[in-house]
Amino acid sequence: MQNRIKLIFISLLLFFCFLILFEALKKSNIYVPDKVLKKSLPKFKSQDLDLKKEISSDELFVDSEFYLLNIWASWCLPCRKEHSILMELSRNPKIKLIGLNYKDKFTNAKKFIDKFGNPYSDNMIDTDGTISIELGAYGIPETFIINKNKKIIKKYIGPLDQNSLNEINIILK
């Protein structure tokens, strides 16, 4: 009898795990752009990674047609994967790349940039993650495409890949 109760209990637990993983599988399609678009970019202030002084978002988002805001961290492996895409984008003069370094150690962030190259024209520090929360980020990496009116026109959750690069290039044309 006791065995049967155990069996039922474990089966229920496993069934629950199964359901969750089943749902999670469907969810993995969120890596396509989200629908929360055309929101305007919240204002924020933060330290700059290179200049080490306080900078506000109004000073950053000037004189470019499009901006790309990328939330990253050195400890985040997918960020490493999308880095080559960002490097490629940084060669395009129509878009300005701004990095937001999320909950990271200063030295590690520096190392990351030194090792893989710096695609960003500016890099902000988000030590406690509050700016990312204000932006409505789910996790990292996450990328926002912003137009010159400071409206978020596209959002990518998860690492950028070749498809997202093509999409961005279409927007820039």
Binding site: L14, I20, F22, L25, K81, G139
Partner: protein
């Protein structure tokens, strides 16, 4: 073209062979013959043969750069060196699954050959369970990830292999790791069969221990190779990132380690039987879950080859079917009461192995939660989080301290009933370790206090295992070697993390830089052309305080297919320290960014892992316990 066709049809023949074996086995199970049907062995060999043919077919397609094959087109390129063309075969999703199948079929054939002295019904049932797994994988390969799909029109050129995967350690990492994973499938099938046949006995324990040792040794080495790759190719001197995929390889390892200890108890005096069965089921389940988490794209990691929910769905359903079969069998057939009960004293080897299990299960639980919690949270609350190294370090380090001390004390206990003896040498060693770790603490900042306590514990274990080695000579040598390796591993990781030094600066050609007593001179740069990349090589002269001079030549490689810039660090390894130098372009500037690191005792991390595996290896060849 031809190789692709042959490969595809061989797979189908392999699947048919699997079905045939199950049919024959069911017939054979209930008849009165004493021996297993003589047809089964050749068919099992044929199945292995068919899978090898298809695997060789895929390798040939890679070598000939046959781009009519979609897998080759996606992962290869004509300019790639031959070595990486071959290793590219299993460097992708489809090919690596084919490798799984290859090892699965090889292992069941070997199992049949080596188990002829075991009862017939037990062998047949093991074979049936294993064939269920094999057929599942055949279907998975054929339905969702066929390595032999055709492309038309035939492309001129392939997409190329990701340069960071072009590394010798990574070329052999998957096969070795898979032998470990797949070995656990034999353990799974065999323990289920033993439960059904009520054959959990000393005899069974002795026989299955060999398989546990094989998969444990290979899993250990496989994990080490992955970590070596991360150190040379990915990292800035790091070798373990608590990446989900690293975690899923560590979980079956912890399970197998616990199983390895339990099976010794079972072999000696028939206790802990339920632990053995549950751990056998868990090791394989965890290996399969690892495959699921990696292949489905649920987790994001360097190992994720493709985000394909269909594949994920298949493995998920298959995995849970296996788990439910296993649970059902365990709860209906498992009988503990016919094993003789021995009262276990609290101070005895059995009890200490039980405590060891609980420690390992705790580590396992921490890692499991750290890995899957983000998935559960996301589904339930729609919130996405990443769990990083601090979580694992905080939860694991305090327990590791007790675990190490425990490891130093208990292996000298006897079976069934024993006493704790306090010896003079133990106290001397304890004082010595405290003294040594105090010196380390003194030379560094007090931030590392908890690390120093850990250091003290691992030093203590280190001394004790050395003493045991000289006291007991060759009695129990496998255990001593492994435990010694473990203490050395923790020691070298700690000393490495405490004493690492580094410097980051921008240097022009001809400039000098001082780090402590080292002088680093950037002498010149040189441009080179290779088959599939161009490179810029920097020449650095490093002079240390003893006036010894070494030269380091880091490279920046610009791969053409796909266009990627990678920095190849140059690393000079000695027994004491690794000197690690890497340089990078700085956008639009004439100077280079240079990073120089001193990583003490790096090589000992690999050496100690080899010691751990060596213990298992010795145990495999050791003569069986005298009856």
């Amino acid at each position: 073209m031809l190789a692709t066709q042959i490969g595809y049809y061989s797979l189908i023949f392999g699947l048919i062979a699997g079905l045939l074996i199950i049919l024959l086995s069911i017939k054979n199970y209930n008849n009165r013959e004493i021996f297993i049907n003589p047809k089964i062995l050749p068919i099992s060999f044929l199945q292995f043969f068919f899978v090898s043919i298809s695997f060789i077919g895929l390798i040939l397609s890679f070598i000939n750069s046959d781009f009519s094959n979609e897998t080759v087109y996606n992962n290869s390129h004509t300019t790639k060196p031959l070595f990486y063309k071959i290793s590219g075969t299993w460097g992708n999703h489809e090919g690596s699954l084919l490798l799984w199948l290859l090892v699965l079929t090889l292992f069941i054939f070997l199992f049949l050959v080596t188990s002829s002295n075991q009862p017939k019904r037990y062998r047949i049932l093991t074979l049936v369970f294993q064939q269920i797994i094999i057929i599942g994988f055949f279907l998975f390969v054929l339905i969702t990830s066929n390595p032999f799909s055709n492309l038309f029109p035939i492309p001129q050129e392939g997409l190329g292999l990701n340069p960071i995967l072009q590394d010798p350690a990574l070329a052999i990492h998957p096969p070795i790791l898979y032998i470990g994973y797949v070995g656990s499938s034999i353990i799974f099938a065999s323990s289920l069969a033993a439960v059904v046949e009520n054959y959990i006995s000393k005899n069974w324990a002795r026989h299955i221990k060999k398989w546990i040792l094989i998969s444990w040794v290979f899993l250990t080495i496989g994990i080490m190779l992955g970590s070596i790759w991360a150190y040379y190719e990915l990292g800035w001197g790091g070798f373990w990132f608590w990446d989900p995929v690293e975690n899923v390889s560590l979980m079956p390892w912890l399970c197998l380690t616990a199983l390895l200890h339990c099976i010794i108890v079972l072999e000696k005096n028939l206790s802990l039987a339920s632990w053995v069965v549950i751990l056998s089921i868990a090791s394989f389940t965890l290996s399969m879950s690892g495959t699921f988490l990696v292949r489905s794209g649920i987790l994001n990691s360097v190992h994720t080859f493709a985000n394909d929910p269909e594949r994920g769905m298949f493995i998920l359903i298959f995995l849970f079917i296996l788990i439910f079969i296993a649970l059902f069998i365990f709860f209906t057939f498992f009988k503990d009461n016919n094993l003789k009960k021995i009262k276990i004293n609290w101070i005895s080897k059995e009890a200490s192995i039980l405590v060891n299990n609980w420690f390992l299960m705790y580590f396992l639980a921490v890692i499991l939660i750290g890995t899957v919690y983000p998935i559960f949270l996301e589904v339930i609350t729609d919130e996405k989080i990443s769990i990083g190294p601090p979580f694992f370090n905080k939860l694991i380090i305090p327990f590791l301290i007790f675990f190490l001390i425990f490891m130093a004390i208990v292996p000298s206990l006897n079976w069934i009933k024993s006493y704790l003896r306090i010896r003079i040498t133990n106290i001397i060693f304890l004082i010595l370790s405290i003294f040594l770790s105090y010196i380390v603490l003194d030379r560094t900042s007090s931030e590392t206090l908890i690390l120093t306590i850990l250091l003290c514990a691992s030093l203590y274990l280190f001394f004790i295992t050395i003493r045991e080695f000289f006291n007991k000579r060759f009695k129990n040598i496998s255990q001593i070697v492994s435990h010694f390796g473990f203490s050395l591993l923790i020691l070298s990781i700690l000393l490495n993390s405490i004493f690492s030094k580094e410097m980051i600066t921008n240097l022009k050609v001809g400039e000098k830089f001082n780090l402590k007593e080292n002088i680093i001179t950037f002498e010149k740069i040189e441009n080179n052309k290779s088959k599939n990349y161009d490179s810029v090589i920097g020449y650095f002269k490093i002079q240390d305080k003893n006036q010894e001079i070494i030269y380091l030549k880091p490279e920046i490689r610009i791969y053409n297919e796909p266009t990627t810039i990678t920095s190849e660090a140059d690393i000079k390894t000695t027994l004491y320290t690794d000197k690690f130098l890497v340089m990078n372009f700085v956008k639009g500037k004439e100077y280079f960014n240079v990073r120089y690191q001193l990583k003490p005792y790096m090589i000992w991390i690999w050496i100690s892992t080899i010691f751990i595996a060596l213990g298992g290896f010795i145990s495999f060849f050791k003569k069986e316990y005298a009856k």
